[in-house]
């Protein structure tokens, strides 16, 4: 199954929230939607799910316009939504039945998922008596009970402690290995790097970067040098005094190492040559591989978008 989002636009009154979003997500892969608050991630997800209609553009599954009658979807919204005063089993069975399951199979699915999430003891408990993290797990169960083909998770890791985050991580990996299509958004880049084959970074309703993570990283300018040395002060002073024509600013100490941003990636060799010929005591030097966080910050830091819903 391949889900294709083609050039969707959306306005809320005078506010243009999506300005032509296009991407594809394939079965057995996870697609990461990244962006600052208000970039348009949630609106994109809601349009895929049919909560909102786009003003233009189309969503297709294997070349046919998307219809949730044919494709089963599971959705975990960013703002967690469950009934606080209803017993967990009752509401999960209700959600599963709304998705078309029969009562008995819904009950079996609820028992299975609660066991999987180590939540079986809360079967007859009211939701309001659970911790925030545990409520989040119930929310995840509500999205996955009916074994959907397309799973959309909006900020699934927010508010989870490391143990629960690891449980969720394993579940998402399992869903991917089962051949489901997973689209998810997160501000925690380590999870995006861990699951996603492809990503799209949104800014102000437009995709500013998209594609496979390794490709994005490779295409990113390799203009950052990481340098370790015993006397960092002496090395830093040397770079400032005699290599200022190559660097953007003074070296920054991060994680016990010096990071230097060059004016241009083509200045790498010249930087290496000058350091090597200097009398500085250098322990190690290499070109920094950009992290997803670096790429995200670089593409999204200047302007602000607005989350409308």
């Amino acid at each position: 199954m391949e889900l294709k989002v083609k050039d969707i636009t959306k306005n809320f009154g005078d506010n243009e929230v999506l300005k032509g979003i296009s991407f594809s997500a394939r079965a057995g892969e996870a697609f990461g939607l990244l962006g600052r608050n208000g970039a348009g991630k949630t609106t994109t997800m809601r349009i895929i799910l049919g909560i909102f209609k786009s003003d233009s553009g189309i969503i297709e599954v294997d070349g046919i316009p998307f219809d949730d009658k044919n494709i089963s979807t599971g959705y975990m919204p960013e703002e967690k939504g469950l009934y606080p005063k209803v017993k967990i089993a009752d509401q999960l069975i209700y959600f599963a039945m709304l998705k078309g399951m029969k009562r008995n199979s819904a009950k079996t699915a609820v028992e299975k998922w609660l066991a999987k999430l180590d939540m079986s003891r809360y079967y007859g408990t009211k939701l309001m008596n659970l911790s925030k993290g545990n409520q989040q797990k119930i929310q995840l169960a509500a999205a996955l009970l009916h074994e959907p083909d397309l799973i959309i998770l909006d900020e699934p890791f927010s508010g989870l402690d490391p143990v629960n985050a690891s449980v969720l991580e394993n579940i998402i990996k399992e869903l991917i290995s089962e051949g489901r299509t997973v689209i998810f958004s997160s501000h925690q880049m380590n999870y995006i790097e861990s699951f996603c084959n492809e990503i799209a970074i949104l800014k102000g309703g437009k995709i500013v970067v998209d594609g496979g993570i390794p490709e994005i990283k490779r295409s990113y300018p390799r203009d950052r040098i990481v340098l370790s040395a015993g006397d960092k002060k002496a090395v830093s002073d040397h770079i400032i005094s005699s290599m200022a024509d190559l660097t953007v600013s003074a070296p920054v100490i991060k994680d016990g190492q010096m990071q230097i941003k060059l004016k241009d990636k083509d200045m790498k060799n010249e930087f290496f040559r000058r350091i090597a010929t200097s009398d500085m005591d250098i322990d190690g030097i290499y070109v920094k591989e950009p992290s997803l966080t670096d790429i995200f910050v670089d593409h999204t830091e200047d302007k602000e978008g607005r989350e409308t819903q």
Binding site: G81, L98, A142
Partner: protein, 410 residues
């Protein structure tokens, strides 16, 4: 349909499982049981009669008057004494007698009692007895034979009341009870729908629901589910009232209100049921739609206020008409066909006034069609409203969006 049934079942069961709902129902049933059984346990049949002393009556007249007084005051023990008015006062004060009467002349008396209740008719009864006695003795003095005088005194006017329309003396009370119940059913269960919608919206359950079911299934399921749960509660309470009233009816023989309520005609009960149901639906749809515009449950009371005001106004108009007795006034005729007021106004006209069968049918048809239209409009508003957060939009804006062909522009 399956989704509708799922939503309906969930809403119905949730309400029935709600402890507050259950406890309220049981308490009201218990209250009905206690209220109607009350005279059974506090029957004053075996209770000591209150004593009433008479003084200033010649001994030869005491025998005939005793019978008259016993007949006139069946709940009192009649005692004749020769105490003076002062002594009688003291005796009543010291609770030797509960009350006393001193005849100061053939047609004058003093009534002595510690406290006189608002319902105490002793004075009127005494006046009537003494007046008759005085007239009788005067007629004898004028030479009219005693048997003739007795005939004149005991002559009475016979009357037969022929009611063409409704006898409001009896219909008023049961109409009052039913109209109050009808009002309570609409306002309580209608507001319950509003609260549920606002809770689903504020707790963001709506995001899950709306991606799982069609909005018309959601709102119809919710309203019909809540309505049926409310109906179950109302029927349980009414059944309890009816059963306990019937069981204890013999103890309420003297209570005109209870007797008329217990004897209310079956067709009136059927009309009350029809108008409660249709009235609930039209208001519940309005409450559901309006509540979908509130972002927080705290805002719900102010958001739904316009709907509640309409309902209160309808109730006030109907109660005013009932109190004046003019239930077929022009205002009531109009109200009984306008769908937001007709559930109460037409019911009152049927119960207490003079209304043609055709008018009733027309009113029910208008109301039914309005319920269906309100249902569709409410669904359209709900579809837009449930996903709008922040400052509630103007109702006119939402209305425009809802009636436009554009499906959910937000």
């Amino acid at each position: 349909m399956k989704q509708f049934m799922t939503v309906f079942g969930f809403e119905y069961k949730n309400l029935l499982k709600n402890k507050f709902f259950l406890v309220t129902t049981l308490l009201l049933i218990l209250a009905a049981a206690v209220f109607f059984s009350f005279p059974r346990f506090f029957d004053n049949g075996g209770e000591k009669k209150s004593s009433m002393a008479f003084s200033g009556i010649e001994q030869n007249q005491q025998e005939t008057l005793e019978k008259t007084f016993e007949k006139a005051f069946p709940d009192k023990k009649i005692v004749f004494t020769d105490l003076s008015i002062k002594e009688l006062k003291k005796a009543v004060e010291k609770e030797k007698y509960d009350s006393a009467v001193f005849l100061t002349g053939p047609a004058s008396y003093a009534y002595i009692a510690k406290n006189i209740a608002i319902t105490d008719t002793t004075g009127e009864t005494l006046k009537s007895i003494l007046k008759t006695r005085y007239e009788f003795s005067e007629m004898i003095m004028q030479g009219i034979p005693p048997d003739k005088a007795g005939e004149i005194i005991s002559s009475s006017v016979s009357a037969k009341i022929i009611t063409i329309g409704k006898d409001q003396t009896s219909s008023f009370f049961y109409t009052y009870v039913l109209i109050f119940a009808l009002y309570m059913i609409i306002i309580l269960y209608g507001q319950l729908v509003a609260t549920n919608v606002a809770t689903e919206k504020s707790s963001r359950v709506m995001e899950i629901l709306i991606t799982s079911a069609k909005t018309n299934h959601l709102i119809f399921g919710k309203i019909i589910g809540t309505g049926l749960a409310g109906l179950s509660q109302a029927v349980s309470i009414f059944a309890a009232v009816f059963i306990f009233c019937r069981i204890n009816l013999s103890f309420w023989e003297d209570n005109f209100v209870i007797k008329t309520v217990a004897d209310m005609p079956a067709d009136i009960m059927i009309y009350a049921f029809i108008f409660s149901l249709l009235g609930y639906f039209i208001y519940a749809f309005m409450y559901g739609a309006i509540a979908s515009l509130a972002s927080r449950t705290e805002d719900i009371n102010t958001t739904i206020m316009p709907v509640t005001f309409i309902l209160i106004a309808a109730f006030a108009v109907v109660i005013f008409a009932m109190n004046t007795g003019d239930v077929d006034s022009m205002l009531m005729v109009v109200c009984s066909h306008f769908p937001l007021t007709s559930p109460m106004a037409m019911f009152v006209r049927i119960s207490m006034g003079d209304v043609a069968a055709l008018e009733i049918a027309l009113s029910i048809i208008i109301l039914f069609v309005s319920v269906v239209l309100t249902g569709y409009l409410a669904t359209a508003i709900y579809r837009v409203g449930v996903l709008l957060y922040g400052k509630p939009p103007k109702i006119s804006e939402v209305f425009k969006i809802a009636v436009s062909k554009k499906d959910n522009p937000y």
